[in-house]
Assembly symmetry: C2
Homo-oligomer: 108 residues x 2
DNA sequence: TTTATATGTAACTTGTGGGTTACGCAAATT
DNA sequence: AATTTGCGTAACCCACAAGTTACATATAAA
């Protein structure tokens, strides 16, 4: 039900959000317990959670009045694909260099 | 001589900058010829170039009055490392799931 | 040497993202 | 039933990033 699909690059641009992801990689936790790790207010964290959720970085399980945030892979995939394109670019560049060196070796 | 080391996440958060990187992956080019691909003014592109440069995404060769921009790997590395951490996270998670399934199989 | 080109930069404007406080509500606790 | 807890949201503020225009400079072309 994550409608708007935010720009994942924008989403991870914020250091606080990256730290939230890092915290959640250690242990999934609720919004309040996440907020304890920050200077900012609890509503601010709540906003970040909303953003992370809509970008597919976390999922949320409502347990009573608590919201448990759990890391989710979807958001990362888009980033991985973007980087893969450039990884390929660098790879190709190396290949071409290698081919060139081979050519030169064969010539003499 | 790239002094300040900008936050690479912030840097790639801008869609225009990502498009510049993409254009440069096709062909290295000057600032003016880059600007032709955009609606924004030439100075705006110039600024983006500066940002990309200081974050290690491009290098620049001055040829006469022209500045040739070439893709550079440094900036991407930091992103790769960040993502690698989470890739490992997902990998480990799968491993644990696999171990659990194995345990269950052995029990019966 | 005059003109055109390729660029950097300063000064300014503006939209918006990230913060706040104040409030409301439902689920627990007492 | 009253209170506390965990949370969402609305309304607001403000710094800043990203754009603009105007100007300066160095190189190339005429």
């Amino acid at each position: 039900m994550e409608q708007h699909r935010l720009d994942v690059f924008q989403v991870i641009a914020d250091p606080s959000r990256r730290q939230i992801l890092h915290l959640l990689s250690k242990d999934s936790s609720t919004i309040n317990s996440l907020a304890e790790n920050f200077d900012m207010s609890r509503p601010a964290v709540s906003k970040h959670i909303k953003v992370l959720y809509h970008a597919g970085f976390i999922e949320i399980q409502d347990i009573g009045r608590e919201r448990h945030c759990i890391l989710k892979q979807d958001g990362f995939k888009e980033l991985n694909e973007w980087l893969a394109y450039y990884d390929k670019f660098w790879g190709d560049k190396l290949d071409k260099l290698g081919a060139l060196m081979n050519d030169n070796l064969n010539k003499k």
